[in-house]
Symmetry: C2
Subunit: 187 residues, 2 copies
Amino acid sequence: MRRNYKKADLPVYQIRKYLEPGPVVLISTLWEGKTNIMTQSWHTIMEFTPSLIGCMITAANHSFEMIRESRECVINIPTVDLINEIIGIGNITGDQTDKFKKFALTPEKGQFVKTPLIKECYANYECKLIDDSLLEKYNFFIFEVLRAQAATYPRYPKTVHYRGAGRFMVSGKELSLPQKFKKKNLL
Amino acid sequence: MRRNYKKADLPVYQIRKYLEPGPVVLISTLWEGKTNIMTQSWHTIMEFTPSLIGCMITAANHSFEMIRESRECVINIPTVDLINEIIGIGNITGDQTDKFKKFALTPEKGQFVKTPLIKECYANYECKLIDDSLLEKYNFFIFEVLRAQAATYPRYPKTVHYRGAGRFMVSGKELSLPQKFKKKNLL
């Protein structure tokens, strides 16, 4: 059953908390009045402040041009209750289909982007494209996160992590070991 | 207790299997006769063929210069049995310490790089630096994986995934759902 998350703002320098573990994300886009959603997991945190994320998105993907033109997107972090949507969205193209409608996902208004957020996801990061110089060579987008929201409960999301070939790892137990770190490294 | 993995070669286009889920990695380096190891988790797959990985490594890190000069490294994927080594390696600098020795890790000879692999890790990816043009602006290295090895058992590793602030997620259960994918998407 789908989760109904209640969310709060998350400081943008803390977005690693949910993205650095490497979950599959749903990237929503808006261009010329049409929305799209893609399933993606080739991403990395690149900086705390400004809050930067790098994403490789194949140029053949419908979202590639939409992001390049609109210069924005939302990185939404879904949990395992959305596994059918994650797979379904990744297996159809968005050029003919309204994926919000097809997958019964709720578009929510952002603050810094026109692109709708996906309400059913655990976290939503509103992103502006700040560097498109690597698109030609690597299809690599560099985004700045301008606003982040995340669910207030549970403390950590049950995310899915892709291995290829139809296989996913689901996030397991949490280890909290700050006492083993030097204080200056506890970012 | 530490695992003693028996390994086999993995085709380099399949390295996503263990890296795309987003684990913390140990990056080993060699320059001017000295080795080093760093704990890292800001990385992403960037391409299947050639097999590319992008990594953000802060310039303040001792490994940054070593990789820039030697133009190679090994990305080693540790499992949760090495959690103390993962944290310990991330909390001391390598300029005065032989981390292989201090953490009793076994250096193994690579095939395409001079840098030693870490025997105790589940997988080892031998990397050459193929693009350093993003170092000045983003501290971002682009590597090509020339050879990969991974443990033959267990089928999937118990990796650790960092959230910041001394907290880790440990990989949980596996979901295999290829029947829900279009065949052409089952890479």
